[in-house]
Amino acid sequence: MNWLSQIVAVTWLNLRTLWQRRGASAAAAFGVAGVVAVFIAVLSIAEGFKKTLTSNASADTAIVMRSGSDSEMMSGLDRDSTRIIAEAPGVLRASQGPAASAELFVVVDVPKRSTGTDANVPLRGVQSAAFDVRSEVQMIEGRRFAPGKNEVIVGRAAAAEFRGLDLGNHIRWGENEWTVVGIFSANGGLSESEIWCDAGVLQPAYRRGSTFQSVYVKLESAEAFSRFKDTLTPDPRLDVKVVRESEYYEAQSRVITGIINGLGKAIAVLMGIGAIFGALNTMYSAVASRSREIATLRAIGFSAAPVVISVLAESLFLCLLGGIVGAAGAYFAFNGYQTATLNWASFSQVAFAFAVTPKLLVQGIAWALVMGLVGGLFPAIRAARLPVATALREQ
């Protein structure tokens, strides 16, 4: 009998008899399923957060802030600067002029529906070109705010997460009363966590005079960015830095994704060790309970390698099974789970959904196979080294 058919025969024999050892095998697979599910669930938080921050951020949108600021909140630009920026080369010309929106970014305290405690909700003052810059923003209820009036429109996620932001409500922040006149969607992106109003109304309400904090610009193309940046940065009338929207939000997502990925991976490794112990226990008992069978195979001429491979295959099969169950469980339990957290970079709330991505599923199952390999290797070696004569004699 050739080597390959030996492997196939012994492996098939192992897998067919797996059912007889179902108790311990299921326990090992269950352990692996748990590890994979947790690994995927924790990392899907980071993926979801990042996706919300970056999904709508495009390479052909630029953000201009005062140089040295790492966020809009810390920036400040006077009205003249914003005009120079809007007229710069590379800016897309929309129907009513350049697609450039000078904006203010503040936070207001609004209670969370879930806890009733105040949360920092971003309130963004925009100019009408904001709707040209962010074409994904669509009104789903009501209408846009009227220029010059104390009216706000609320992102879909913010309306769901925070109390009192429903259409038609009146809200008091400081000395001003605002009316919610519309609810908008933004393709699942960050804007859906924000409240928008006319920048011209927000300036006096927050005593910002005629200053803004950032200018959002839609460029003619992604390639126009360097021309735009190289015109503005050296301009002696300005003191600004120009970043791509996609890079800005990628950087903002880094703090939280760093925390979660750090925790998630540490946890996954630890749990993996626990699951490997479980798999080892199972596979050692499997080898022990079949020692007569293995010895018989060896006695009738099977070599050691097929025995090693068959034990490894069994272990890999169990862990793969566990991995698939765990991955599927994580997907159905956590994909799309809605929550909100504080984005430290903008000191405001971001509503987002957990995202179980194909990449995570693959990583989770790969981790299951690593556990299967380690958990099967040592028992496999023991199986191969079983002294044939003694093993045959056992009861």
Binding site: A27, S75, T117, G274, F277, G278, Y284, T341
Partner: protein
């Protein structure tokens, strides 16, 4: 206790199985330790807030400034013993990813309000005398390898001095420690006056006020007095206890911490379940041995004790190993590279862990032990 050697022999019989079972229990308890530390990290400091301290912030949002003139008005409110203030600086040290909080404060009143910041007297004096001086907590000092006397350049973001170098330079006058484990020692404090002068000398506002009150039981009265004092003014206030503010921040970070905790708790119990199953199985396999012991004259209770001792020994060894290892790992710092302000293994959770380990030993041993106790010798011996 005379059964201990016998239980020990039983454990030694299948060394590998015992080793892996102990190992997986230990891993479960390492996770348990992490769980406790993460919960502390995400609820940063709620447990260590002072009951006699109130925070006064702008009613619209904490990012809105309050006039500096409020200081005197607040200090005249009955029930207020001490007032201090702070202002967020938000600068960058070398790179935005090196984030830590920087606050401009009035040093004397601030240190008086926060006795949990332990600063050697000489360093305290040095800080008070040097207007460009700053103090920083142990965590941040260690993170960047700073020593007292270093010059720390911090690049301004919001506070840009007109026509000047955007970098503010500070002399590190002191490094403070936390009085308790949960005290945040990541913050960098410097003189509000230095900030004010750098910005032209009439900043006119601060970020928020903190207050010590005479009687924590009457906090609500003081809260109402202060908020009424500034009602209908351009900058209305929201006064709350320090704990309430910390809690609302923890709520803002939201369910992420809770979800990670819930997941970890689920895993912890899963691993225990799997390990418990193995332990119970190893007793079941020896049913006829137990019958032989009974034949030899062991009482039912003694057999039960033997089985229980065995499972408790495994659980205790695994549990203690795990808790000890978790403590070591957590001492080495948090896995996110210093972004969680506090990360430690609370003592009460260690005690809880030991309790759970014992409970595990009893729970996994109990059913097999009960079976062993009720075993009829004849049936068991016949079952070979």
């Amino acid at each position: 206790m005379k059964f201990l050697p016998l239980a020990w022999q039983n454990l030694k019989r299948k060394k590998l199985r015992t080793f892996f079972t102990v190992g997986s229990i230990a891993v479960a308890f390492v996770l348990f330790g992490y769980l406790a530390a993460i919960r502390v990290g995400f609820s940063a400091g709620i447990d260590v807030t002072g009951a006699d301290r109130l925070m006064v912030i702008h009613k619209v949002s904490i990012i809105q400034p309050l006039p500096i003139s409020y200081r005197d008005q607040i200090s005249r409110v009955p029930g207020v013993k001490e007032v201090s203030y702070a202002n967020w600086f938000g600068g960058i040290y070398q790179d935005p990813k090196n984030f830590f909080a920087q606050m401009a404060v009035e040093p004397v009143s601030y240190l008086a309000l926060y006795p949990e910041l332990i600063l050697p007297e000489a360093q305290r004096k040095a800080w008070l005398e040097d207007k460009t001086g700053a103090i920083v907590g142990r965590v941040t000092a260690d993170r960047f390898g700073w020593k007292v006397g270093d010059k720390i350049p911090i690049q301004a973001t919001a506070y840009r001095r007109k026509g000047n170098n955007p970098v503010w330079e500070f002399n590190l006058s002191g490094i403070y420690d936390g009085k308790e484990k949960g005290t945040d020692t990541s913050t960098f404090y410097f003189h509000y006056d230095y900030l004010n002068e750098g910005m032209g000398g009439n900043l006119g506002f601060v970020g928020w006020y903190m207050i010590r009150i005479a009687d924590p039981a009457r906090a609500q009265e003081v809260v109402d007095r202060i908020d009424n004092l500034f009602a209908n003014s351009p900058a209305e206030t929201k006064t709350q206890t320090e704990k309430a503010l910390a809690q609302s921040f923890a709520n803002q970070v939201g369910s992420i911490g809770q979800i990670i905790s819930a997941i970890l708790a689920a895993v912890f119990f899963t691993i225990l379940l799997v390990a418990g199953n193995t332990m119970a199985q190893s007793v079941r396999e020896r049913t006829n041995e137990l019958a032989i012991l009974k034949t030899l004259g062991f009482k039912s209770g003694q057999v039960m004790a033997l089985v229980l001792i065995e499972s408790c020994v495994i659980a205790a060894i695994g549990g203690l190993l795990g808790i000890g290892f978790a403590w070591l790992l957590i001492q080495k710092g948090d896995p996110t590279g210093g972004t969680l302000p506090v990360f430690y293994f609370p003592g009460k959770d260690m005690v809880l862990g030991v309790g759970i380990a014992l409970a595990l030993g009893i729970a996994t041993g109990f059913l097999p032990a009960l079976r062993a106790m009720r075993l009829r010798i004849v049936d068991a011996l016949r079952r070979v």
